[in-house]
């Protein structure tokens, strides 16, 4: 399959004005352009006037570049950068409430231990696990504990920062993003 048409998950980080309605503007943009949000997280930064969003999106190369370029046009958005997996650290947190009885408990506890999770709540019939890590780790843990019965769960969505000295405030207009070599949408 054409590499450019391959649909993948990618993550975008934005610094946005911490003002009312910014989240609506971002989600409205995604709806209008037909982009699929996988997760979106937002929180204040060290500067109370600025919030940081991490958006995880499904899409091919075209959607990826449209997403970034359309976000850059929003007035309340200051910086936008794709968080490349090999140049970033990313984390997600999940709280998972599992069915619990004396037979399954040892197996669950073993899984909790292996995945380095924490038990944060316990009752005779349920236990609640807190897990932090890359999204794939959480997916893997869920696979393992699914058979025991997931009663409810809540995932935060991904947050990410770049590794090393790079940070989001740098001017990030990547000129190579505007260069293309061939016309991919023509029928041969």
């Amino acid at each position: 399959m054409d590499k450019k048409k391959k649909i993948e998950k990618f993550e975008i980080a934005c610094l946005v004005d911490n003002s009312a309605g910014v989240l609506t503007r971002v989600s409205s943009l995604f709806t209008r352009r037909g982009f699929n949000i996988n997760s979106l997280t937002v929180g204040e930064t060290e500067d109370p006037n600025i919030s940081r969003m991490t958006i995880s999106v499904f899409g091919d190369e075209k959607i990826r570049s449209q997403c970034i370029k359309q976000l850059r046009k929003l007035v309340n958005i200051r910086n936008v950068k794709e968080m490349m997996p090999d140049a970033c650290v990313s984390r997600e947190l999940a709280l998972i409430k599992l069915r619990n009885n004396s037979q399954t408990r040892p197996e669950i506890l073993a899984a909790v231990d292996i995945f380095r999770c924490k038990i944060i709540d316990f009752s005779p019939n349920t236990l609640c696990v807190e897990i932090t890590g890359e999204s794939t780790k959480i997916d893997a843990f869920l696979e393992v504990v699914k058979p025991y019965g997931i009663l409810e769960m809540s995932r935060t969505g991904v947050v990410a920062v770049q590794r090393g000295c790079s940070y989001l405030f740098e001017d990030d207009l990547d000129e190579s993003a505007f260069m293309e070599t061939d016309r991919t949408d023509l029928i041969a």
Partner: protein, 560 residues
């Protein structure tokens, strides 16, 4: 000095160079209208019959002048009536500042009388919008709104001002005229690549859109065409940038484009696209679009590059600067084979037109040519949307930039009369509106605005008693099932309607009487309506078949 919010709004508008606002009063803008009353010597308010058409008027005001249009409406229904007008401006990148009133801040969110979340409603059709929470924000927001509307890729901005903010009083210091942001320029490495592409090309084709008007580069584009020996084609929005009688000019391309322009585009080996966005109406089937060509795309908006078609080289940045640099650096070159091919295509097109012409029939083209005799080079030519719009786009002899006032992207039927009024006020001269009986039915109430203001607008109605564009498709592709497109049973006498509004009305039924009646109508100095009966079976040709490519252009009815 202490000023009320309403006064600050009016003072700020004057500061931004606004001389005319269009609008309609209502409960939540009484304070603003009170300020307009006080400032009427400095700021003219044009009362329209409906907020939508006030918004189109502000839009037409920009299209004819290049100055930001301004419109005022009240909360709730006043604000929602603006939406079509704002969306029209958004799709054509028209800078517009819309000011709406809203209920007082303590009533917001309680479903109060005439309360609507217009910020939420207009989010997807504005470049940005503002809700003014307190009077301290008001002046800076208006300043920023003009800055945003004008800068980069222009667009509409809405400011929602609650009644208590209009009534509050604060110290006001003028902030000065909002300037455009400094645009990023295309970097030299990319420019070098572009120049190389042009130099290497054997069959270049310059393709301009509305962005070329915004960037004010039509002259440089014509020089570029001379230097590289290339033809110029344009999109609907690029019309009027280059005079239609310019020897390099091939006309509009696309769904109803000119034959020579569309064929040349299909055969070229390089498209130099300047300020256009490859809309589906312009490209035909995108998968078969100009297969032999490389595409060089220059636009102020980086998000347009690779959005609708993938391009070989995309240049994002200030178009004015880029075109001048391009012009400086490209090799001056003759391309005789290509030049000859273009000449042949033009010849073919002329031959086709001669074949199609019928000197004994009252055709749309004959009507357009007759009306054009009474216009000068800078007369704004407005249209509504439909067949008449395409006929005007195809055959009106445009001479100067910003003389074509038409809804391209959104295709808003009902756009025309408001826009023609705005254009007449902006250009301070007579404007001409070509409309259809369908479109005219959507904005006919604005005849009252013509009557009241005496705005010199000549309304020419192509009255074919059908919704012609849809009917043309029904004829061609839907087995002639004329579902709800036949208007014979509601045929109106538009001349009489005009007279009833107090606007002189004229009727033309035959080719013979046409010149005389038009002369009579044009002799009036104020507004007139000319109702012209044309054949309901008249087609817009050429046309691209659905899903077709540029070379499949249909020029004769018999080919279908």
């Amino acid at each position: 000095m202490k000023k009320s919010g309403a006064e600050i709004i009016v003072e700020s508008l004057i500061e931004q160079g606004v001389d005319t606002v269009f609008g309609y009063p209502g409960g939540q803008v009484i304070d603003l209208y009170d300020a307009l009353y006080a400032y009427q010597d400095q700021l003219r308010h044009v009362l329209c019959s409906h907020e939508q058409h006030a918004c189109h008027a502000a839009d037409g005001y920009f299209r004819a002048t290049g100055n930001v249009g301004t419109v005022i409406a009240t909360s709730g229904p006043g604000a929602t009536n603006l939406v079509t007008g704002i969306a029209t401006a958004y799709l054509d990148s028209v800078p517009l500042v819309a000011i709406t009133g809203n209920v007082s801040t303590n009533l917001i969110g309680r479903d109060s009388f005439q309360e609507v979340d217009i910020i939420g409603v207009t989010l997807p059709v504005t470049k940005h919008n503002f809700f003014v929470k307190s009077i301290d924000e008001l002046a800076p927001i208006i300043h920023q709104a003009f800055e945003i509307a004008r800068s980069g890729r222009p667009g509409p901005v809405l400011i929602d001002v609650p009644k208590d903010v209009q009534q509050a009083v604060t110290e006001y210091t003028p902030l000065g005229k909002a300037e455009k942001y400094v645009e990023k320029t295309v970097n030299s490495r990319q420019m070098a690549a572009a120049v190389e592409m042009i130099n290497e090309s054997k069959r270049p084709y310059i393709y301009i859109g509305g962005g070329s008007l915004g960037a004010d580069v039509p002259d440089e584009i014509m020089q570029l065409a001379e230097k590289i020996d290339a033809p110029i084609g344009c999109t609907l929005m690029g019309l009027s940038a280059v005079p239609t009688d310019h020897p390099r000019y091939l006309g509009m391309e696309g769904m109803h484009g000119h034959y020579a322009s569309s064929m040349a585009q299909h055969e070229c080996d390089l498209i130099i696209a300047i300020g256009c966005r490859f809309s589906d109406r312009a490209t035909g089937n995108v998968k078969k679009y100009v297969p032999q060509a490389k595409i060089l795309h220059l636009d102020i908006d980086a998000a347009e590059l690779n959005k609708n078609v993938s391009v070989n080289l995309g240049l994002a940045g200030d178009i004015h600067d880029a075109v001048i640099r391009m012009l400086d650096h490209v090799e001056e070159k003759k391309r005789p084979a290509w030049h000859q091919r273009i000449a042949d295509l033009k010849q073919e097109e002329m031959f086709q037109q001669e074949q199609l012409a019928n000197p004994h029939k009252l055709t749309p083209q004959a009507l357009i040519n007759e009306v054009a005799k009474y216009a000068d080079d800078s007369t704004p030519i407005a249209t509504d949307v439909g067949q008449h719009q395409m006929w005007v786009a195809q055959s009106y002899p445009f001479k100067q930039p910003r003389t074509f006032v038409s809804s391209g992207g959104l295709g808003t039927m009902g756009f025309g009369l408001g826009a023609a009024i705005g254009a007449a006020f902006g250009a301070k001269k007579r404007s001409i509106l070509f409309t259809g009986d369908g479109s005219f039915g959507m904005n006919i109430g604005e005849l009252a605005t013509l009557k009241a203001t005496g705005a010199p607008v000549v309304v020419v109605v192509f009255n074919n008693r059908v919704l012609g564009m849809v009917r043309q498709w029904q004829t061609l592709f839907y087995g002639a099932h004329y579902s709800n497109t036949d208007l014979h049973d509601r045929e109106s006498d538009f001349a009489k309607i005009a007279e009833a509004f107090g606007v002189p009305g004229f009727k033309i039924d035959t080719l013979e009487e046409m010149p005389e009646v038009i002369a009579k109508a044009m002799a009036k100095s104020g507004p007139v309506v000319i109702d012209v009966k044309i054949d309901p079976d008249e087609f817009v040709l050429p046309m691209l078949p659905p899903g077709g490519s540029m070379d499949q252009i249909i020029t004769m009815r018999e080919e279908i």
